[in-house]
Subunit: 236 residues, 2 copies
DNA sequence: CAGTGGTCTAGACCACAAG
DNA sequence: TTGTGGTCTAGACCACTGG
């Protein structure tokens, strides 16, 4: 009955781990040309696609630079990337075990400041919806939101009951942006921020500034201000 | 000679784009179960692996939730992820066309504060290298760095000429972390910050707080303080 | 021009989890 | 139990680009 023991197939994870180890250990130093897919497939006794899958993963993660004909090299500055999750605020609040509520403070049609109109590529004089919303966690200020919405891009928003569902949430559920610009920064609390968040004017606030597009039409510009102590975290 | 015109093979990008379009257009609403790989392969007249590749990409990007047996669903909160690039400071400065220089202000062995020692899992009384560095762009303060380095994890650092190459750069080139925690926040400038960055005490600073590990050994803890006006940006 | 990565195929087996 | 995604294979052709 001596049946031939079949070799368990090498998984791409195996190759991935091995390659990562060689990079970390210095066996493949930064900038180094590593063996071709064919060579590695031979070394690991597997199909070339398996190697390809492993190396593609590493390349996606920023560990490798791959170019046809030129081959694959270890990135000179391996991986310095972080995946930030930009949550819907309700989730952000509920994830930390607090109850969410929002309060619509201001809602009106307004001509945006020139800088913003320019950034959004609007004609001068175009009006947008302007909203000021306070997001609350267990009744305490979580973040203050200032938002401009382009009704031409999102006409449906006009019928949304924004006092019941926050614009944040409504947009997430109803509109898919195709592109977005995000900036993170620190700013001193304005008088308005201070009032909304119940902090002293000038306090260091963490700001998330976001502008989203659908095709080449701007949808919405948001400024989220978080009170001192807020940390946006991730894992590398 | 009427030769059979061969169908050009469907690429995974085609399927990817089609699926994305169905999600964006609402044909596949959030939470909806989408057709199986086999069905889609038939629809697009391609191999199942081609569909798999396309859907995996979408899942990686957060647009889909895939589970064996349960099938593939459109994510209820599609994609709210941002890739942040954590640059080496020199690159960050040189990318904006400025010349980089750094100045080592403090270098000593010191017992870290309890909070930090705990976070790093160190025994009480363990000493670390403590560094204060000012990063300059065209001679003007770009960021103030406060860093603790665990020499046990990185003995090589003891021989590094830290006045010539910044610890940031040396570590990037010589040590590969396996894990890192990153936090972004806002803080008022301390007296030290203010002196280094030439801003008023209490100014709103953008802070990057990072702790990296190699296996279960902490390597280094860094606090980077950026003066008012600094924006960390990315695209969604 | 030729070497290397990128992708497609058709079929197969496996792992997981819903029912 | 069984449907669905996850993966491997062996071979093939193509696309890009360095030399």
């Amino acid at each position: 009955m001596a049946e031939a023991s079949v070799q368990a197939p090498t998984t791409w994870q195996t190759v991935h781990a091995a390659a990562l180890d060689r990079i970390r250990s210095g066996a493949w130093p930064p900038g180094e040309l590593i063996p071709t897919e064919v060579d590695l497939a031979q070394e690991f006794s597997c199909a070339r696609m398996t190697v390809s899958r492993a190396l593609r993963q590493l390349a996606d993660d920023g560990m490798l630079d791959r170019r046809r004909k030129a081959g694959t090299r270890v990135a000179t500055t391996p991986v310095r990337r972080a995946m930030l999750t930009i949550p819907v605020i309700r989730q952000e609040v509920e994830t930390k075990g607090a109850s969410y509520r929002h309060s619509l403070i201001t809602q009106e049609h307004r001509i945006p400041p020139n800088a913003l109109a320019a950034r959004m590529g609007l004609a001068p004089g175009d009006r947008l919806i302007y909203l000021e919303t306070l997001h609350l966690a267990d009744g305490r200020p979580h973040a203050a939101e200032t938002r401009w919405i382009n009704t031409q891009a999102v006409p449906g928003i006009l019928k949304a009951p924004l006092d019941q569902i926050s614009a944040n949430e409504w947009l997430v559920q109803n509109v898919f942006y195709t592109r977005g610009d995000l900036a993170l920064l620190a700013e001193p609390a304005t008088k308005t921020d201070a009032a909304h968040l119940d902090v002293r004017e000038g306090s260091a606030l963490f700001i998330v500034d976001r502008l989203t597009w659908i095709g080449d039409q701007p949808i919405t510009a948001v400024r989220l201000a978080y009170p001192p102590g807020h940390r946006m975290t991730t894992t590398l």
